[in-house]
Symmetry: C2
Subunit: 212 residues, 2 copies
DNA sequence: CACTACTGAATGAATAGTCATTCAGTATAA
DNA sequence: TTATACTGAATGACTATTCATTCAGTAGTG
């Protein structure tokens, strides 16, 4: 009969669940850096392993394949992003504030975690076919969140009723995504983050053209 | 000293320049279909060859490498697109008409040549790092054309002067690109092409929100 | 405590499969 | 016959994945 185990709730004798999760995370973080630097296809599994400070084979104890690593990375990070954004956005009352909040969160995340942004925008977009097969439920949730803001605005009478939330959420996402790519790609951005947000916000709220 | 050659300005005795260009084109068209279907990385050179009805090695008589084929494909198609768009757009006087024309041309091209659109949006975006090294001058020309429409609108007093053409061209391109991806990806699109154009045009001209 | 048996996480050399690319040979035209 | 275009089997480089082995740490025993 085993004595009381230190502070570990699992029955695993050698490695706690927390330690395992930590290592799993370490691999994901290493993958983000490596994929961002060399691109998914050019990055070797052994590069990720070296970056994580572990052996090649160890990655396969945590992920089924290199593809599975990419997908897990995307889904898990995206899930976290969706949760955060949803709760932040809901602090505001008006749809205008909510949309502005969303744009800011997206672009600030890009500025703060450029490697993650690079993987999520470039490397994954690249594999759109690949993602299509795996459905990318969290990407769907992200789009849905954006669409909900628009529908909410329509309910409140803030947003023109003629607008189709399904199309408009794509338009806004596309704009955000391209701005992110632009921001991440340029070594020394010509525009401040605030300026970028301002510009996109201006387009969303009033369009380009001077009203007659 | 060669006898008077039929209609061929080159000195090639066996194959006319026109025939060579035709075969080169055939390879590019085959590559578009193949890359669109399987994705650039998963497409084998031998797939492209089979699709073109030629032997694997023949491709290397026309292109340095598989990468070179992708880049040539992109640059040549894009060059043609830029020329066409530039001349079409310049038929209109106002910036509003010009912008609307541009949006229509882009989305109609996507609808007419989905495989080409797929390769240009998905497969190339994927290789953003790859393209960054190769500069993609024709992509720059495409963006410039869009930016020129905006600047032109500012000169004419149609477009708000506070707008930055460099940012706004990215925003609009991102929206177009995402809508293209959406259109190309959905087997049976929920929205008509006209509806998509209408929606993007509405956002560009007046934004989402009801003016107070 | 001291000893043995056991566990399973981690390793990394070896395997296995995939393709881009080459090139020796064939066909064709002049 | 010579130059050119083409062919497609063979090559060779690359790398994801596997798996026999190691070993640090835990449990059981007296």
């Amino acid at each position: 009969m085993p004595r009381g185990r230190s502070q570990d709730s699992s029955s695993s004798p050698t490695k706690s669940k927390a330690q395992k999760l930590e290592r799993r995370s370490a691999i994901i973080e290493a993958a983000i850096d490596t994929f961002a630097q060399r691109g998914f296809h050019h990055a070797r599994v052994s590069d990720v392993a070296r970056q994580a400070g572990i052996a090649d084979g160890t990655i396969y104890l945590y992920f089924k394949s290199k593809d599975d690593l990419l997908i897990s990375l995307f889904e898990e990070k995206m899930e976290h992003i969706v949760e955060t954004f949803r709760s932040e956005v809901s602090c505001y009352k008006t749809a205008q504030e909510r949309l502005k909040c969303f744009l800011e969160l997206h672009l600030k995340m890009v500025a703060e975690r450029p490697a993650l942004a690079e993987v999520m925008t470039v490397e994954l977009r690249q594999s759109a076919k690949f993602m299509r097969e795996y459905k990318a439920p969290q990407f769907g949730a992200y789009l849905a969140l954006l669409g909900d803001i628009i529908s909410y605005g329509q309910e409140r009478g803030e947003v023109r009723s003629g607008i189709d939330p399904l199309l408009t959420r794509r338009i806004i996402f596309g704009a955000l995504d391209e701005l992110s790519l632009y921001w991440v790609s340029s070594k020394r951005p010509l525009h401040s983050l605030e300026r970028v947000i301002e510009e996109l916000w201006a387009l969303c709220s009033t369009g380009c053209f001077i009203q007659k």
